[in-house]
Symmetry: C2
Subunit: 288 residues, 2 copies
């Protein structure tokens, strides 16, 4: 039992007041979850908390975090460059060890139901936890294409909005900062590289402006790095940016990245002809 | 005690007859060592076996491998593109977990002494196990600049030559195959990138010709990848090759590579601005 692990990566619509996120992180930890990471972005006005727990307690930890967010974040007073529809905006569960995607979908649905029943915040179920095909994609829910939530009514919580809860494979949140302040360039690049407008499979991307640093940014989610690796997405952005005479100023990983994603990237960049995971010392020591 | 681990990476002058290496690997394993890897190269006529064992038994495992090599490899009948001076050519001990470089130097000296006393093969001690400054560098020993061995006399074993035994930090053996059959180009590049002729610190490099594949190759040893990373050596070769209008056909990692080396390479290539080892999921799960 102790080797089973579920990751949860809730996104909250607060990125400027550290005390609020501290409080949410404390609530999550109070259920015994292991906090792996927390990232806040001032321009996005958004924070991402990454934690892990066994399947028996991960839902409780997520619930406590959502409850604290509902108590302390008022969406009516929110403004930030990243789209959002809830104080606790997205709550995905991710299989890490010894659990399946379906196990995580089950936990997501139970947690979603509880959020409505106890907090009166309407809930949508997305990705692998979706009960309806039109809810699979987060972007569709955000754009208001799904009027009826899975739990609750259409009114929405006055200050906390709605929560989108689901299950998905490990997602890499990867932002590419461009050497330009022109938001339109970032938007064009995002449109070219993301799947929904004809680009790479398993890539979501939007263009945003980081006013505090005067960089336009392509903000991406890579939802299956084994199918569409980090370096493929990175090179796609680089190629598109070059068409505008723009170079890459740097990148950021938001939250965590599986070592395999970096191994694949390094092996590709170095053009290693004989690469197998077994050439890595730590894998061989553990018989992986 | 069980968490202490020493790696040993003996190089043997046999790369064409698999039965010979099978026999050597079996001898090493008979002492309880964990075989991590074995690589043979036909053109180099050389094999590298990588194994790990606790400090109490790693010397015995290495000794058994050397003894089998001395019994079954006759240097007088050897020809290959990689320089060598012994049937068991180099035997380095490397700290992996819970042991220091000095611990490994101690094991190396004990093993070296035994090789002379029981097998009558003269032994040089190199790198961190060297008793004399002129023996630190393997290349100097190979070039015959050190007439007197540390154990034994100058005669040399009739069929097995000498053995060089030592201790060093983790070394990455990294070969870059060039898109040319011109050995001179590989030699020029090697000269430019290696430390001994004014290039990068912690880099040894030679140019060789892989006749079986008609590629010239820059064969490198990176003796401190934290100081001179994989990608720095790789880019140096690429830049030098470009001066000859030659591109890189591919690369090979010989033996094992620590995950940190690949992580550093990926983070550099992706231009990650916020990279710390803690963004890697597996590190965070283990509190690293």
């Amino acid at each position: 039992m102790s080797t089973e692990l579920v990751e949860c990566v809730p996104n909250f619509s607060e990125g400027r007041d550290p005390a609020v996120i501290d409080s949410i992180v404390e609530a999550i930890g109070s259920a015994g979850a292991k906090i792996l990471d927390r990232t806040s972005d001032h321009d996005h006005h958004r924070s991402v908390v990454t934690f892990a727990a066994p399947p028996e307690s991960v839902g409780e930890a997520a619930f406590r975090g959502v409850r604290r967010a509902v108590e302390s974040i008022d969406l009516r007073r929110h403004s930030g460059v990243h789209p959002r529809i809830g104080a606790a905006d997205v709550v995905p569960f991710v299989p890490v060890k010894g659990v399946t995607l379906e196990d995580c979908a089950r936990i997501a649905r139970q947690t979603g139901q509880r959020i409505w029943e106890e907090l009166r915040v309407p809930v949508y179920l997305y990705e692998a936890a979706a009960l309806r095909p039109e809810c699979r994609n987060l972007a569709d829910i955000r754009r208001g294409r799904v009027p009826l939530p899975d739990f609750g009514d259409t009114t929405g919580h006055p200050s906390a909005g709605v929560v989108v809860v689901g299950a998905r494979k490990f997602l890499i949140a990867f932002n590419v900062n461009l050497q330009t302040g022109d938001l339109q360039i970032a938007r064009h690049i995002a449109r070219a590289v993301r799947h929904s407008s004809g680009g790479l499979p398993h890539v979501k991307a939007i263009g945003v402006l980081l006013a505090s640093r005067n960089h336009a940014q392509v903000s991406m989610n890579l939802s299956d790095f084994e199918e569409t690796p980090l370096h493929v997405a990175f090179e796609a952005v680089r190629v598109q940016a070059a068409r505008y005479g723009v170079t890459i100023a740097g990148t950021e990983i938001i939250g965590l990245v599986p070592e395999k994603a970096l191994e694949m990237t390094a092996a590709w960049y170095l053009q290693v002809q004989n690469f197998v995971p077994g050439v890595i010392l730590e894998h061989r020591l553990e018989n992986r």
